[in-house]
Symmetry: C2
């Protein structure tokens, strides 16, 4: 029962180790009968190849990594599940690692690549723009994809990007609120990080207003406090409470993440304001609880599953040379539910 190796299997089968290796790895030059016999013995013995040794020898270690910045965002939870299933289907191995907010995701990636000889990386969260010089350090056979954020511009073509056009989608929501008749719309946003999604969504807000010739009142732009875990309910709650204390007039709130919206709703409820009768609240992301919250949340829903799937297939295709890097934009959907309505 001890440590079993390929040699033990070979001995038991009465063949060479090469033959066993060929059977395991689906090599073409092997007699089907031999292969079947070997595989049967392997199953019977319960042998599992040692992955470290494999990766050491193999030039084409089939392993990719998923780097997640901000695991707290449960939006990723669903993404990860889909990614994992897809990667497994393609017979790749996968390592997953969280990147702390203060860490540089590229440095973490660099370490990982050398250590584990990765063929590719999927980035979840973090900023969407990286310095080309930094990127070059992640040597050539190397590839990476982003999800959940969109490239702000066309500066870089050395990596793939799967995302929703945050600026456009955000504007869609604000346009909808404007159509309802709202004029004083507060926005809850996280915008310190340069090149962050928060900024893009804020841009969409400005776009919508300026298109109708409405001046942006900077007092209505509510910056969240906690930058470590920016998309939390707590953050939305506190931000809204502080805002209510200022007694600024408003009829709608657009929170750039559903979780923020939940916190906002609670703060409004505690202040005795009804949703949507007194104030309309809109979110962004399409998290499952939006459907079960009362009031149900109006939101922008991203096609999470499709995006996650495409992320994996694209990355794997680029690795195997079957595809070039691509920047793909998925359409999101405006879902109108109970939390928004016409202003009084």
């Amino acid at each position: 029962m001890e440590e079993m190796t390929i040699k033990d299997v070979a001995k038991k089968c009465g063949v060479g180790v090469s033959t066993v290796s060929r059977a395991i790895n689906n090599h073409p030059d092997i007699n089907p009968e031999t292969k079947k016999m070997v595989m049967d013995v392997i199953r019977q013995m319960g042998y599992v190849p040692n992955n470290s040794a494999r990766n050491l020898k193999r030039v084409d270690a089939k392993c990719i990594a998923v780097l997640i910045k901000g695991i707290t965002n449960p939006f990723f939870s669903a993404v990860i599940q889909v990614i994992e299933a897809e990667v497994q289907k393609k017979k790749y191995a996968m390592v997953m690692q969280h990147v702390e907010a203060y860490e540089n995701e590229l440095e973490v990636a660099l370490e990982l690549i050398k250590e584990k000889r990765l063929r590719g990386i999927i980035f979840l969260g973090g900023t969407y723009y990286h310095d080309p010089k930094q990127l070059e350090k992640l040597n050539v056979p190397f590839v990476f994809s982003t999800i959940g954020t969109v490239q702000g511009d066309e500066r870089i073509r050395t990596y793939s990007n799967i995302a929703v056009d945050d600026r456009v989608e955000s504007r869609k929501m604000v346009d909808y609120l404007l159509d309802l008749g709202h004029r004083r719309i507060a926005i809850v946003v996280e915008g310190t990080a340069a090149e962050s999604v928060g900024q893009l969504r804020l841009e969409g807000y400005r776009d919508a207003l300026s298109a109708r010739g409405i001046d942006v009142d900077e007092n209505l732009i509510l910056e969240v406090r906690d930058k470590i875990d920016p998309y939390s309910m707590e953050n939305g709650y506190k931000t809204m409470r502080e805002f209510l204390a200022t007694e600024t007039e408003f009829t709608a709130v657009f929170a750039i993440a559903d979780f923020l919206a939940v916190g906002v709703c609670r703060a409004l409820y505690e202040a005795g304001l009804r949703i949507p009768e007194d104030v309309s609240v809109a979110g962004y992301d399409g998290i499952p609880i939006g459907k079960f919250y009362t009031p149900q949340l109006t939101t922008i829903c991203q096609p999470v599953e499709a995006m996650a799937k495409k992320t994996v297939t694209l990355l794997l295709d680029v690795i195997s040379g079957k595809a070039e890097h691509e920047h793909i934009t998925f359409p999101a959907e405006l879902i109108i539910r109970e939390s928004t309505g016409k202003p009084k």
Copy 2:
């Protein structure tokens, strides 16, 4: 910039590879000056040791795994974060893998151990009881811990267990509802899986009722439909809708997971019932949204962070021989909020 190895470092330093290895691994027999010089060169070159080669050679590869059954349960999200931080602090490596609902977690573990030469495993979710014969297959230097579930009995002492006493805590909640005056309390439960948390919590329910001489009405035990993803809001919602259609009388609902409770609340709201005026709703877990949901959820809150930390330290101590296996039970807290009140 190519592939850098320990040899390159040795050459650059003008020393043997052994010396470099010693510098990296903090071996005692090395001249501090030499060590400093080598480390400087390493930093300057940006060399990172290849992990596969290390694990291949090393007998004491410092690596543990976290196996998660049911990633959908966001209760784990927080747990994982804490575990990861703690493991990193102790300079261990960690792999994380999800186990599908239909998969046997022990088999997955077995594969992982052989493949990666793990020193230990942390199980999250899944059943709390395993067949001793099965467990023996996970050879000796091997250790595992459970979290989020409690051992039902003392059948096994070959592994550690960190948990809350689900049966006792569950009873605490039901006792509280009984104290308020409720007599017809429905319970939403997932109980098919043998030896599951669901069963334990149901036992607690029965305990509380029978202690007061109240007969358990089986019609009030609501079994959820979806067994793949049992603790979902959807599941709670559907279960409650079906129950409402039966027109059975009740004044309170105890959902054995907060997410189920959220679904229950929504179903009640849609049926025009007020919480807690018409029906009281209680959950279990203490998820963050419980505080921001309206009504705020009465729940049993588990000390997630402390439990996760203890899980890691205990496992690592058992591995290094500093500790014996232990079964530790953490106390949970009954948090009374808006969703429960006296019956009419």
